[in-house]
């Protein structure tokens, strides 16, 4: 049986790749596609480090088969900044020290972006539950939450 040929869109770019039927999207991103910004922290959907969006929907890429990407749209951390211009969340995470070792960071940012797209004014509790699937072992979460809520406030202000 030959490898599968998959045509998809990644961060707005039409992309084609070959994969094994059992290969996860994460394996293909980190391997052949060289997009190592998505991290593998567990391989079982427990940590959120591999978070991407699939047709705008937040998913763990370790729990998606690469073959499922056919005709879908994928966004990864590599597409979050526009050229040199960081996304407001990325900028705020930097300013507020909401990251340490950096392994959970891409997944947290992807999840936080989707949160703010759906809910521009989340409460602290909403943000904490939304991000509960993103484990972090360094920061104690506090600064992550502050950064997300601060970014939300700034983006609301900017949108006025």
């Amino acid at each position: 049986m030959a490898k599968l040929h998959v045509s998809t869109t990644i961060n707005g770019e039409p992309t084609e790749f070959l994969c094994e039927p059992s290969q996860s999207m994460l394996d293909v991103l980190r391997g052949p596609l060289g997009l190592t910004g998505s991290k593998e922290g567990c391989g079982s959907g427990d940590c959120g480090a591999c978070t991407i969006t699939l047709d705008g929907r937040l998913v763990c890429s370790c729990l998606v088969l690469a073959a499922e990407a056919q005709d879908r749209e994928i966004r990864t951390i590599e597409g979050m900044a526009e050229g040199d211009r960081l996304h407001p969340l990325q900028q705020k995470f930097l300013e507020m020290a909401a990251l340490q070792c950096g392994i959970c960071t891409p997944g947290v940012l992807m999840a936080a972006r989707t949160l703010l797209e759906q809910n521009p004014d989340p409460t602290e509790t909403e943000a904490r539950f939304w991000l509960a699937g993103n484990l972090c072992r360094c920061t104690g979460y506090d600064k992550i939450i502050r950064a997300v809520l601060d970014t939300a406030a700034e983006m609301r202000e900017a949108a006025r």
Binding site: E40, G41, T76, A81, A97, C101, G102, I103
Partner: protein, 752 residues
């Protein structure tokens, strides 16, 4: 006007951009042409030997390059000592694929190397291993009977101090006594990044190794010793480490296996462990504490006894400082402390964030709470009453100790004075509310470290040392220190670390990196400054005249007279004047031996915790933590606060969630994944407030720093346990405090 220095100011992480964009490369992410992938086969029994390995099916899978086992592995160093790394405890280090002996469950028994990782993983599942099982023991409660005092002490770990006074007699006579046993479960580090090594085959026998390690020189030395290579041929480069917390202090087995395979196959090889396999090496040892406190009726301590037994492997005596804290946190004339090990059929434990301290301090600080209860004294008052002004273990003054201020500031911020003394006396709706406190302590250390500073004629400064940044903020604080030395913006500074070709640095651990690497970078920068200053003074018509170095300041890329900042010369101009394209100096910073002899140096903290307990369900929330930390100079409040909050949440995990459970019949850890091994999640965390207490300390390190990586966790579990007692009246002495422990009821009721 001198500009505000970078040191002491909140500065953003200089490595932050690479991390928020996903560009930062970690050990498993470096590309290499022709890269092969290894997958580890983990052993299934706890003790015994392999009687047969059948690799036929695995080898037959298309794409498999080789299956390494103890039967066919290439030769490595014969002598035991060759396998000892920089921080190995006494004993015989674990040697992967060495022979047929099985020492613990999950031990690597084969490495399958294939063209891609999926093939290696699949083929690994086809390796058939037969064993002859021997009798094993993984239960510390049974093995404690055979506990022993480790015959050889581990380097850098102080054994318990000699007894002072007569603790036995004083305890017998004391009007108030607390005697109890406190236990802490096995924990695993679980950094978010899996342990991984990429070995790049450079040709000609040269290797570049990207390893998940807290000290690149430790990996380099280990590889050279084990495989008989010269340091010129092995370069270890690990610029980013995705957390480690101690799991990366010693080279782990994936490094051995990746290098072995690369040398045998003469090509680049990567080995990444799975999350399951992250439970097959380092861990915090299960530890049993017995504490006895004797006090006068007014709460003054008369006697302290504290004996601990920690688990270790059959092959190494891993030791930690567990009980010594009980001899120095409070004033007491009669103290007897003991520390033993008990061997189990497990991998050797390893240092895990503040090794030893949170274990012993949980026991002591719980016992102090019990004593406060018995004496009818407020727990804070009891601690102030017994405050130790000096280190009574060693009979030395402290370099600095602002714990009293920490108690005061923490109590004020928390509102401790509003606490009602009786357990179960505070309630809100369906929930019981409890307030508890504890003290924290960690040794402040500095280690000899070298660094290089290079100033180039384009006005850029590079500083370099072989230390690591495991998420702590090393890059950032080194950039701050270096920038300040020349009055440069931080953007003009490049920090290089995590490379074995750089000046020598110890492993990153023990909270000593800021003090050590920071002092070394400062020393190297100062050496460059001296040379630059000579050039500046020698410049034609130099405005500095014959001022000496003490009379100038480095501001905004210029050297100016401190007394008259308008007069000065630019750095680039000064270099040009001296005809220097670059000025480079390497310096070594060492701790002050005389100070070390005369003084003791510790960081301290006071932790206040609020818990809310839904008693019907046993559900518990830690709704507030205030921790006041006295840790000398704070280089960067942003990164510092992160470090402490991270430690506090580790303390919450230790108190309530983290526990690796063994099935003693199989001798195996059962909850080896992040679904079953619980670390705190975002929704578990509520308000955490960090206070940095003003503390001047000029003796621990040249830059006044005492370290912050560990102090956040120490005492936090005790504060939470004490708050739970205050809320519920239940004293749980067995961490983690899980729901069923909180709900335990008399058997009659339990049967309902």
């Amino acid at each position: 006007m001198l500009k505000e220095p970078h040191v002491g100011a909140p500065r953003s992480r200089v490595d932050g951009r690479a991390k928020v964009t996903g560009e930062a490369k970690y050990a498993a992410e470096f590309p290499a042409p022709g890269l092969a992938h290894g997958h580890v086969v983990s052993g299934a029994i706890a003790r015994g030997r392999i009687t047969g390995i059948d690799t036929t099916a695995a080898c037959a899978v298309p794409g498999v390059l080789e299956v390494f086992t103890h039967e066919n592995r290439p030769r490595t160093a014969w002598f035991d000592y060759k396998h000892r790394d920089e921080v190995a405890p006494p004993g015989s280090p674990f040697r992967p694929l060495y022979d047929e002996t099985i020492l613990y469950s999950g031990q690597p028994v084969a490495l399958v190397v294939a063209e891609d990782s999926g093939t290696a993983r699949h083929a690994a599942s086809l390796v058939r291993v037969e064993y002859e099982a021997g009798a094993h023991e993984t239960d510390l409660l049974r093995a404690r009977e055979d506990a022993y005092v480790p015959p050889k002490r581990r380097s850098g770990i102080s054994p318990p101090p000699k007894p002072r006074g007569d603790a036995v007699a004083a305890l017998a006579e004391a009007p108030l006594r607390v005697e109890a046993e406190y236990r802490i479960a096995t924990e695993h580090h679980n950094p978010m990044e899996m342990h991984a090594t990429t070995v790049v085959w450079e040709g000609g026998g040269k290797l570049t190794v990207h390893d998940k390690i807290q000290g690149v020189l430790n990996s380099q030395g280990y590889i050279c010793n084990v495989f008989g290579l010269s340091k010129e041929d092995v370069r270890v480069v690990s610029p980013f480490v995705g957390g480690a917390f101690g799991s990366g202090l010693r080279p782990q087995y994936q490094l051995f296996l990746a290098v072995m395979a690369a040398l045998a196959l003469k090509r680049s090889v990567r080995v990444v462990l799975t999350r399951d396999q992250m439970f097959t090496f380092s861990h915090r040892p299960e530890t049993i504490n017995q504490v006895a406190l004797g006090a006068a009726a007014d709460g003054m301590l008369r006697a302290i006894r504290h004996d601990a037994i920690g688990a270790t492997s059959r092959f190494e005596d891993h030791q930690e400082v567990v009980v010594n804290w009980s001899g120095l946190l409070y004033h007491c004339d009669n103290v007897e402390l003991g520390y033993k090990l008990a061997q189990l059929d497990i991998h050797t434990p390893a240092d895990m964030r503040a090794p030893g301290a949170p274990l012993g301090v949980f026991a002591l600080e719980s016992a102090m709470d019990e004593l406060a209860d018995k004496a009818g004294i407020d727990p804070l008052e009891l601690r102030l009453k017994n405050y130790a002004e000096t280190d009574e273990n060693e009979g030395k003054p402290y370099t600095s100790k602002e714990l009293r201020a920490a108690y005061r500031l923490g109590a004020e911020r928390f509102g401790w004075s509003r606490r009602s003394a009786a357990p179960r006396s505070m309630r809100e709706g369906r929930e019981l509310v409890g307030w508890g406190l504890a003290s924290g302590v960690w040794e402040a250390q500095m280690q000899q470290t070298s660094a290089r500073a290079v100033l180039t004629a384009d006005g850029r400064l590079e500083v370099a040392t072989a230390t690591a940044d495991i998420g702590t903020g090393t890059y950032t604080i080194l950039a701050q220190i270096a920038a300040d030395a020349f009055g440069l913006p931080m953007e003009s500074v490049t920090v290089r670390i995590g490379d074995s070709s750089l000046p020598k640095s110890p492993i990153e651990g023990g909270s000593w990196t800021a003090a050590s690497a920071g002092s070394a970078v400062q020393a190297a920068c100062h050496a460059v400054r001296e040379t630059l200053f000579r050039h500046a003074r020698g410049a034609e018509g130099s405005p500095l005249g014959n001022a000496d170095l003490d009379h100038v300041a480095f501001v905004d890329g210029r050297i100016v007279l401190a007394a008259d900042p308008d007069r000065g010369i630019g750095l680039i101009e000064a270099m040009r004047a001296g005809g220097a394209e670059r000025i480079e100096h390497e310096q070594t910073a060492s701790p002050d031996k005389a100070n070390q002899k005369r003084y003791s140096s510790y960081t301290h903290s006071a932790i206040f915790a609020e818990v809310r307990v839904d008693e019907e369900l046993g559900v518990l929330r830690v709704t507030c933590i205030v921790t006041a930390v006295a840790a000398g100079k704070i280089l960067n409040p942003k990164t510092a606060r992160s470090q402490v909050i991270g430690g506090v949440v580790w303390g919450m995990g230790m108190a309530l969630e983290e526990e690796t459970l063994a099935d003693h019949r199989l001798g195996r850890f059962m909850n080896h994944n992040l679904a079953e091994y619980h670390v705190p999640v975002n929704a578990d965390v509520h308000d955490i407030d960090v206070i940095f207490v003003e503390e001047q300390d000029s003796r621990t390190s040249p830059i006044g720093v005492k370290g912050l990586g560990e102090i956040g966790i120490v005492g936090t579990a005790a504060a939470i346990a004490n708050a739970i007692h205050h809320a519920t009246g239940k004293r749980i002495r067995d961490l983690p405090i899980t729901l069923d422990k909180l709900l335990e009821r008399p058997p009659a009721e339990r049967a309902r």
